[in-house]
């Protein structure tokens, strides 16, 4: 059942992706237009779509930083300790 459902979605991948983008757009619109921001902790959060931007940038930042850190010599071959 689970496999069938996943395959069903995969067969319509383009539609699924479009739907997801639709959700993202709606989410930002909701944040910008409807959300009551009086509960925000800081002034920055009052920006429309602040947390969307935060999530996106934070993710890219972490990937770049991790990759850089790995290239500095932290990542190495698997048999490193077996010499």
């Amino acid at each position: 059942m689970i496999v069938k459902f996943i395959d069903y979605l995969r067969d319509r991948l383009k539609l699924v992706i479009r739907l997801c983008f639709g959700v993202l757009v709606l989410l930002v619109l909701y944040d910008a237009l409807l959300l009551d921001k009086s509960y925000a902790h800081t002034a920055a959060e009052k920006l429309p779509g602040f947390w969307s931007l935060f999530g996106f940038i934070a993710c890219i930042l972490l990937i770049v930083f991790a990759k850089l850190y790995g290239y500095l010599g932290i990542q190495t071959r698997e048999d490193y300790y077996d010499r």
Binding site: L24, D31, G49, A58, L62, I63, K67, I74, Y80
Partner: protein, 597 residues
Amino acid sequence: MFTELWLHPALILIVGALILPLVKGVARKPFLMLVPVLAFAAVLLMEQGTYGVFPFLDWNLTFGRVDKLSLVFAYIMTLMCIIGTLFGLHVENDYEYMAAWFYVAGSLGVIFAGDFLVLFLFWEVMAFSSVFLVWFRGRQQSLAAGYRYLLVHTAGGLALLAGIVLQYQATGDLSFNLLDVSNPTLALYLILIGFILNAAAPPFHAWLPDAYSEATVSGAVFMCAFTTKTAVYALARGFAGMEILIALGVMMTLYGVIYATLENDGRRLLSYHVISQVGFMVAGIGIGTELAINGACAHAFAHILYKALLFMGVGSVLYMTGKSKLTELGGLYKKMPLAFLFTLIGGLSISGFPLLSGFVSKSMIIAGGFDDHLYWAAFLMMLASVGTFLSVGLKMTYFIWFGKNNCSQETWDKAADPPMHMNYAMGFTAFLCFFIGVYTPYLYNMLPYAVEYRPYTAYHLAEVIQILLFTALAFFLVVKKLAPKPMISLDVDWFYRMSGSVFKVTADRSMTYVNQWGQETLAEAIPHRLNRFFLEGPARLCLLVVKPIWQLTGVRIDGPDGAEHRFLETFSRSLFTIGSSAIFTVIVLLVLLYSIM
């Protein structure tokens, strides 16, 4: 001295573990389940109070300090013991259960300990029983990893013991309560090192990914729950409000996430997330407000469940296929759909999706940070949450169950959903993750302080959903860059692993040198010289006298038939040669005589 009848749940587990080898046949599996259920029941029936106080030498040892803080930890740990035992029900080796139960008993012992001596006793029980869960994997690497694990924990235990001794010397009090964290002494720092080593705070953390990734499939499920969370309990009890822990915890959350993003081995990746998640709890304890301490306890509770679920999911892949590296897996949703579903629930829980456990627990800690105006800490923890979703919810799940199929034909053929008892264990845990997320009073009513926190507000929901979905967007945009590589990441265990081989080479060389020196000097050169002295010494003394006379009289001295050679030969044959030892004896006797007179 029992204040009233009180049964320590650790005792149930220990007695159960000792009886286990005697239980055979059809009774074995029911017995295996019965013991942890009894321990759980003992915790459920417990009333708050102080029990099990025994006088020992000058002290009163308290085995049963039961309050809200110890109860919430004992509750989740005995519950976890049931889940872990159910998940490992296929294991034939009785000793593996014994090790696991002794290990849980150690945790429970620490949690109910009212003083440092009892705490230390059970603290060591934990280390020395859990190491068997690594060793029973039976691989060469597991053996080595187990020894490293034991070594590090022994060092941490010694720091703790030193701290306890100094603390007792300074205060004359052994009871384990909130320490004076605003005026830290050396004793306090040593105790802190002992605790944070078990909480896997960098730089004392490398034992965790090292050992957990080498443990047995069910052993890792136990290990991920107990050592670090017992340390969280100990910190919450003794170090609440110590500011240095905020920075340490925030650093842990990010450190674990960065390493997890690079990691290729599924269980190592999850291990780094233990560090990251425990970081949230440590930061909460450092913030120290009622909300933050509640958050730390709630997060420990939720974390034990979803992390066990994740270790069970990846463990079942390892159990079925023998592989745990992302570069050797992929596309498995067709073969292991149930394991996928459960792991996904675990992954979404740890990422803090609404309706799941992480959402209602982690946010308490972050809210505690915001409320205390620690914006840097709160925002960095948010950043770490992004990383959590990125590496567990997305990367690991995607590359094991979707992504490029890297399975060998053998791996693919072996892959299938695990045995029923594993599915039950995962299903039950997944249900609890939902239950905690949906029905918040279940968890919130157990917490040490009264909770006024409400996670399901429109603002908080919008905040979390935006962060998570846009993280997912970023992930799928760069997914190719994140494809796993067959590499390892060096961590601080490099220092003791490499210093190990440096030590070996140094020891080897220096010992060979000492050995050689001993052989050449002590065994050969000195006896040879002594021998020559006793044989020829008197003769050479005489030569000193006769040589000038010969030189004066013009006798030929050198050469094979010269005077010197003939003299020495005569001397060695003459009576005098009995000599040197006799002379020696006489001298000694004379000295003795003189000293007696």
